[in-house]
Amino acid sequence: MAKIEKMKIEKVSDIQELSEKIKTEIRRFIVGYEDVSTNLMITLLCGGHVLLEGIPGIAKTYLARAFSGSLNLSIRRIQATPDLMPADIVGTRIYNPKTLEFEFRHGPIFSNLALVDEISRAPPKTQSALLEAMQERQVTVDGFTLKLNEPFMVIATKNPIEFEGTFPLPEAQLDRFLMRPLMHYPDAKEEVEILRRKNVQGDLMDVKAVAEASSIVDAQKLLHKGVKVSKELLEYISNIVRKTREHPKVTLGASPRGSVSLLYAAKGYAIITEGRSYVVPDDIKAVAFNVLNHRLIVRPDILIESAEVREDWSYKILKDIIKEVVDQAAVPV
């Protein structure tokens, strides 16, 4: 890892400055997807994990690489395949004939950023290996518990249209992702800009690291201590999440973990977008879809009824449901 100057994080505006530095670096390689970059930053600040979902070829992995490259952290990439085993992620104990002892060989999860590409291609057993790591930031191998690095973040990518050779992500796994930003096609202007850049740069990606681990850990601590959320807004969050459980089109609503994620993400949004040290209802509304969309299970008959041959057919239902839920919750003033 390259040595870079440590940025002091003492107030919330410092976090906004740090975030802007990272986003500026991402912009050098990624056209558009400003909202997705913001969501990646929010997730990093909240100490969460992110699932980038979108059709093939829209720069999910490229964005994840640009983001991770802008951070001076240890990064390991895991290419999920149907024969990927838990030991390939977590690590395993290997017999060393020289010392006549078993030694633990750390898997790629022992990094700051684990980039899990095409996560749904990993079998359920392997996906489950990520559960403990994602929630408790530790892994247990052969009865030994090992702590993961700080900060630790999983950036997973998933493609929603291919089903062959894939395994659905279990709900428990999905719930552990703070956000699931959905990536759609770029607009015409953005696509031309992509071509223009590729015409000049090719696939070269020389991202400069602009933030280091200790600054990010400081920013994570400040997010929890330095951003105020009124009691009324906590009730507002709870109200929104509870309404997802009562929605007639939903068989399973968001969990209390979903409420906590909504709270954290709103705090992150307040800091990153405006350098604000308090949350307003608009912050909660802004992150609600990305935080809740993967936590809801829509009734199968509703999905079948509204099936359309379109890239985002099931997302439209989710968008409508979440919008309805947010529109029903009274804003505290």
Binding site: K228, S230, E232, S277, Y278, V280, K285, A330, V331, V333
Partner: protein, 138 residues
């Protein structure tokens, strides 16, 4: 302990006073419900946002909603201050700067718990004055 008849006998001398207070309460309630000046609208709950904050904030919020509605917008309790102010600024561009300032000040006070300064109140009263004349003209 006196029985029911005994209790009535005991309260009988005070009956006119009780009736007087009940009547005053009823009349006040009617005024609050019916008149514009002392209407419950000032409390915010009838028009939308129910504010737990001071009188100046409530009054300003109330005028915001009244002008918002008079411009033909459909006010919902799920609307945020920012959303409403955004719509208002688009319709009343000459008030845009004032509204943006008030929006920040209200958010700082309501969600950030900061005190409203005397200078902020000047902007509030300017807006309230405008809103009153606007409402009258409609």
């Amino acid at each position: 302990m006196p029985d029911a008849i005994g209790l009535i006998a005991l309260l009988k001398p005070y009956l006119p006073i009780l009736v007087f207070f009940l009547s005053v309460g009823l009349v006040t309630e009617l005024i609050l419900l019916k008149t514009d000046i002392l209407s419950r609208r000032w409390r915010g709950s009838e028009v939308g946002w129910s504010s737990r904050h001071n009188k100046n904030v409530k009054r300003t919020l109330t005028w915001i909603i009244r002008v918002y509605k008079s411009l033909g917008f459909n006010f919902k309790t799920s609307s945020t201050i920012r959303e409403v102010m955004g719509d208002l600024s688009n319709k009343l561009p000459d008030q845009g700067e004032n509204l943006t300032f008030i929006m920040r000040s209200l958010e700082d006070h309501i969600y950030g718990d900061s005190e409203i300064s005397h200078d902020d109140f000047i902007y509030y009263s300017q807006w309230n004055k405008f809103a009153k004349s606007y409402a009258k003209s409609k």
